[in-house]
């Protein structure tokens, strides 16, 4: 999952970035509104976290401009102001949720997780496709109830595929959503991850969870369990 953190307070920005990286996010950061709009338009983020009190351009303005530019990813706003007038204004500008400062990072992660799932059409924190179940809170994957041991990158790739289960996902999509901006990308690595995932999820080759669409990308083929 690729996240943009827009926050002008460096200590908070860095703490958040470090913690989210640990949680498996590809993190980009911006420290003012103009930078945020530039990045928000360039990169297909999975979620954007915006502090409302920004220099140059207010957070509300950033949210408005991103929505005007047809960016549909979920946006979570952070604000020191807890009045309902401010909350309503923030949500009206196009944000999907708000969090009042100071907050626990666990709370932020839970909201981010829920927003990302919701925008991909999942209502529960456990993504289920037939026998494959991914618990996004605990970050574990099981097949028919048996836990599967995945590396952090394997988990990221599978998470993205399962969130968009049934949809075609290109290699480019995967690299964009899994790696940060400055990362040296090598698409062969994705193929390696897919190969390993197939082996781990489907050791006897009966399930065939990940389909290759020749020349275009991959699709998680097991339908979502409603």
């Amino acid at each position: 999952m690729r996240v943009l953190i827009v926050e002008d307070e460096a200590p908070l920005r860095e703490t958040l970035a470090a913690r989210m990286q640990r949680e498996g996010f590809a993190v980009d950061t911006a420290s003012d509104g103009e930078e945020a709009i530039y990045m928000g338009k360039e990169v297909p983020f999975d979620i954007v976290i915006v502090d409302l009190g920004l220099p140059k351009l207010s957070g509300i303005e950033v949210v408005k401009r991103l929505r005007e530019a047809q960016r549909r990813y979920p946006i979570l706003i952070l604000t020191a102001r807890s009045s309902w007038q401010d909350k309503v204004e923030g949500l009206k500008s196009g944000a999907d949720d708000y969090l009042v400062k100071p907050f626990h990072i666990e709370e932020l992660l839970a909201r981010v997780n829920a927003l990302v799932r919701r925008s991909a059409g999942w209502s529960k924190p456990v993504l289920e496709c037939g026998p494959v179940a991914m618990d996004t809170t605990a970050q574990t994957v099981s097949v028919s109830g048996a836990l599967i041991d995945l590396t952090s990158y394997e988990y990221k790739v599978l998470e993205y595929l399962m969130l968009h289960a049934g949809e075609l996902v290109s290699k480019g999509d995967l690299t964009e959503h899994i790696y940060e901006q400055d990362f040296d990308r090598d698409s062969n690595v994705i193929e390696v991850f897919i190969g390993r995932l197939r082996k781990k999820l489907d050791s006897d080759g009966a399930l065939k969870p990940i389909e290759t669409v020749r020349g275009r990308g991959y699709r998680f083929a097991i339908p979502r369990t409603p």
Binding site: S82, W84, Q85, V88, L91
Partner: protein, 458 residues
Amino acid sequence: MPGRPFSIASRLTLASIVVLVLFLYLTTAALERAFERSAVQSIQQRLKSYFYSLLQESDVNVKGKLLLPEFMPDPDFDRLGSGLYAAVSGPDTEWRSPSALGRDLPFNEAMAPGELRFEGPLKSSVGNVYLLRHGVVFEGHEERPFTYFVAIHESSLVKQKQAFRGTLIRYLGSFGVLMLLAQGILLHFSLRPLRSLASDLTEVEQGHTEELTAPYPSELTGLTGSFNQIIRSERINLKRHRDTLGDLAHSLKTPLAIMRGLLENADQLGPLKSGTEEQVNRMNAIVAYQLARAASSGHKTFAAPIEIDANAEEIVRSLEKVYASRGVLCEFELDENARFHGELGDLMEVMGNLLDNGFKWAKSKVLLTTKSLGGSKGSKTRRAGVEICVEDDGPGIPEDKIDSLLVRGIRGDEQVQGHGIGLSTVSNVIDSYEGQLKIDRSPELGGARFRAIFPALE
């Protein structure tokens, strides 16, 4: 910069002087006119009576020749230039009274027998005169008509008029002065409440008295009542801000002291971390609580009425976003006459927190109802109140917990509906509007029901 407007007293004085002068001028003119008319009428009478006495003394001989009187009805007819003139003209006759000799008077137009004409003032060589002409025939000599002329100089009339005007101006002038004096006394008397109000205000400003307490005339009670309300709410606000600041500073000292203690005895990281975390949470709760208290403004005296519908919809739309995964439906039952008289922020705080609470705890449904309280047409209320009611179909609040909910303070117990900063903010806002918060079970939905009641202003 525009100058200071005239005082009420000088406005009234100026206006009454203008009105009085105009009134006196018109009265004088009307009275003079009436006087002149009656004086002219009396001149006509006088001339007529001279004519009759002249006629009585006149006769004709057998040939029809006019025999004129030997004695004049007034000696002034004999005195040259006396101002009283007579003449007769007819066949073979052209008589002038001695007073008219050598004077050019308009004794020229013959009248038909029995015809009478009174005219004046006419210009002549002796000045303006009033003239009576009368056509006459004598019995047996109907073919020889004569015309009698009697004229009088206007000087007597002018003298009378001048005397009259002098008297009139003296009387009306003193009447005007008396009126102005009375007006002054009246003004002084009527404006006394305003002057005493001004001096009472100074007393309040200087802090000698708390509010405007003296009985004021009914025209001023609206003003003084509102003013007292402003003074009171200002005082309460000031006190609340002072209290909030004091409470904030003092309540932060305890966690700070604990943290300092922890730091000084920090041999191990574990207890330091958990202790600091606990105190940071506590400080955060304190700040949030005091901020909410300070935020509710409670200005209600001159607040413009705010429509509730649009704001409620905005909040619900926001909450539907935030609680999208819960699938809660919010229904409105809004009274279109309901208005909130106060700060928009306060209304948003009350509705936001109550609705948030409803969305958080409802199984599937939240109901927002507003109702206008009192203030219908014809009633004596100055302004209608409003009831904002939020109910849900959640678990509701056990009855034994309701009382503890209404006791203000910070609660960490999020397991029971309504606990937390949100409700204490609502309660603070309602208090500052002298309203009431009622909590019970929703008869319709079965969950909790919160009713924020902002009373009508009497």
